[in-house]
Structure formats: structure tokens, C-alpha cells
């Protein structure tokens, strides 16, 4: 069992997430994991990619800033974004980072990431309750590594923990921390094959309904657009042909044979594409 722990430090906030990640590193080592730790300094994209390529089955644990479409390696470079998200394929990914589950996590899931733990909104915390926020942030990975619980149970128990912690914060008069903790808990998600992301795009929903989750998530927007354009092209052709045949009478032209070839080749190509997608 191996893990790649990524916890760069490049500002005051990342010093906190780095500090919290130390507990995770200790936990991994205690549980027999071989840990490649990229921590405590600004990182480069190349370093992260190399670590992921050389440890293809390792769980990825990321503690740092995030955006909707990226996890940051430093102030100027992304560690993982939409361009190299395929590196998460076939492995689990646990993040403590703002926003990344809203787009990057979905893309990771589409690319075959086995589990993506993250937040759909900005992660917040307060310095009067650091211990409680650390406990919340680390709980999912603790349950996964130590108790070997399924991700679904890890997230349920972490949300339950948040409720308990909010009670504790309120009993000691920390209402600001309680609000922030509630927001963190509400925006926490874990995408797995038994708990996939909710698609916001109508076409994606249609693809999922028609092709099922395995193919429906993998088909690209460009491919969907090409299908729509192809359908529209066929519609225009048939419309013109019907009108022409109604006026001039039924006659087959060379263009009709060419069109038939185009349709056959498109069907064959689509069939091959779907077979290729299934194998991925």
C-alpha cells in the first residue's frame, strides 16, 4: 500500500493545512503505508506529476489551496488541473482544498478516479477552534485508513462528527466557528461509483440515461455536439430530398450514395468509439 501526500506551503493559510497533514502522514506510516511526501515547501507541477506517474496505484492525499478546476502546487503552478487530471485514474484521492470538487472532482470521476473526496465551496476555519477543524478535516482519511470503512460510510460519519463538533462549539459560545463548520460539512462530497456527482448539464443527464453511468460519464461534450450536428445535417438532407422528389420525381443521385456511405462510416466510427470507451 502506498500514498502520495501533497501538502505544499507557500503562505500563512497553507501552513495550517500542512500542520494538519502531519497527523495524516503519521497515520499512514503507522498503518503500513509507503508514503511519498511532497510537503512543507512550494512544489512544481513536474514534481507532482512525476510522483503520481511513479506511484500509479497510490492513494493521493492533497492538503492545500484549490480552485474549481485545480489543486495548487504553489502560488503560480497547479499540481493537478483539467489537463493532467487523468493521473488520478484508477486511484483514490482525498483533498482538503477549496472548491475543487465542483469541477475538478467531477472531471476526475469522469476519468476513472475511484473516489474523490473534496469540497464544492471554499473550505473555512477559525483559529479559536483549530483542533475541531483539524479533527473534521482529517476524519475521512482516518476512517478509510485505520478502520478501512467504505467511502460512503466515511462521509456519513464525518458529517455526523461535524454535527457533534458544532454542538461542542456552540456549548462554548463559538458561533462563528459553528457557522463555518456547518458550511464545510454541507459542501463536503465524495464521488464514488456508488455515489456519482450530480450532472448539471442536460446533455450529460441524457447521455447517462441512454448510455448508463459507465459510458454516459465518459462521453465528451464535443462528441455530444458532433452527434447533434450530424442529426441536424441528416435532417436537412432528408428535408431537401423529399422536396426535390416531390417536385421532380424519385431519382437516385451520386450524392445519395455518397451520403449513405457517410452515414455507414459514422455509425461504424461511433460503434468503434463506444467499444474503445468501454475498454478504457
Amino acid at each position: 500500500m502506498s500514498a502520495v501526500l501533497i501538502a505544499p506551503v507557500f503562505d500563512d493559510v497553507t501552513a495550517y493545512s500542512y500542520d494538519w497533514s502531519r497527523e495524516v502522514e503519521k497515520l499512514l506510516l503507522e498503518n503500513g503505508y509507503k508514503v511519498l511526501s511532497l510537503s512543507g515547501k512550494p512544489l512544481s507541477r513536474g514534481e507532482v506529476e512525476e510522483a503520481l506517474r511513479s506511484n500509479p496505484d497510490a492513494i493521493v492525499i492533497f492538503y492545500d489551496h484549490g480552485r474549481e478546476d485545480s489543486l495548487q502546487a504553489s502560488q503560480t503552478e497547479n499540481a493537478i488541473d483539467m489537463e493532467n487530471v487523468h493521473l488520478l485514474r484508477g486511484r483514490e484521492c482525498y483533498t482538503l482544498a477549496c472548491l475543487s470538487a465542483s469541477r475538478l472532482g467531477v472531471e476526475a470521476y469522469r476519468n476513472g478516479c475511484l473516489a474523490y473526496w473534496g469540497y464544492t465551496e471554499s473550505f473555512g476555519f477559525t483559529t479559536d477552534s483549530l483542533e475541531e477543524f483539524k479533527q473534521f478535516a482529517n476524519n475521512g482519511i482516518k476512517l478509510r485508513i485505520r478502520e478501512r470503512l467504505p467511502w460512503r460510510q466515511c462521509i456519513e460519519e464525518t458529517k455526523n462528527l461535524a454535527r457533534q463538533l458544532i454542538g461542542k462549539l456552540l456549548s462554548t459560545g463559538r458561533i462563528i466557528a459553528a457557522v463555518i463548520m456547518q458550511r464545510d460539512a454541507d459542501s463536503l462530497v465524495c464521488y464514488t461509483p456508488d455515489n456519482p456527482p450530480e450532472p448539471s448539464c442536460l446533455l450529460r443527464r441524457l447521455a447517462l440515461r441512454i448510455l448508463g453511468p459507465r459510458l454516459g460519464w465518459r462521453i465528451s461534450r464535443r462528441h455530444a455536439a458532433s452527434l447533434i450536428l450530424f442529426g441536424a445535417g441528416v435532417g436537412v438532407y432528408i428535408h431537401d430530398r423529399i422536396i426535390e422528389w416531390a417536385v421532380l420525381g424519385y431519382r437516385i443521385h451520386g450524392v445519395d450514395v455518397g451520403f449513405a456511405f457517410t452515414i455507414i462510416s459514422f455509425i461504424l466510427l461511433s460503434f468503434e468509439f463506444i467499444r474503445w470507451l468501454r475498454k478504457r
Binding site: 495550517y16 473555512g124 458544532i166 456552540l170 463555518i180
Partner: protein, 82 residues
């Protein structure tokens, strides 16, 4: 009838007055409690501040409605009767 949002702002100000130097960190943004209390009651804020305040108040109002413990604590802090 007292506005929930006003009650929450009042409670935050009271908490901030007790520990003004504690910090609230939301993503890349860091505020001390006293700064946060100030921007909550200020009319003219930057776009980012407005977004953060909007998010905070929305979440707090939801919590006020759904969590009796939170509601009681806010009422207790502000000395408000239901």
C-alpha cells in the same frame, strides 16, 4: 419582529469583541474577528467581502432555522427573547 440577520450580526459582534484577534479563514481570505465584525456591518465592501458576508449570513440564517441550539445561543448572546 427582530430580523434574523441583524441578530446574527449582533451576536458575531459580541463574540468578536471578546476575542478580536482570533482569525477566520475562508479559502485564501483571512480576517481577524474584529475585521469580520466590521465588514459585516459596513455598507460598502469589496466584491469579495460582499460574497463572503453573503455566504456567512446565508449559512447562519439556515443554521438559525434548523438548529435550536444555535438559535438559543444567538438569542442568549444578544439578550433577545423569542
Amino acid at each position: 419582529m427582530v430580523n434574523v440577520s441583524d441578530l446574527i450580526i449582533k451576536a458575531v459582534k459580541i463574540e468578536a469583541s471578546v476575542k478580536p484577534n482570533e482569525k477566520i479563514i475562508i479559502g485564501e481570505h483571512v480576517f481577524t474577528y474584529s475585521e469580520f465584525a466590521e465588514i459585516l456591518s459596513r455598507r460598502h465592501n469589496s466584491k469579495t467581502e460582499k460574497k463572503i458576508i453573503g455566504m456567512f449570513l446565508k449559512q447562519a440564517e439556515q443554521l438559525f432555522k434548523s438548529n435550536p441550539e444555535f438559535k438559543n445561543k444567538v438569542l442568549e448572546l444578544t439578550g433577545t427573547r423569542e
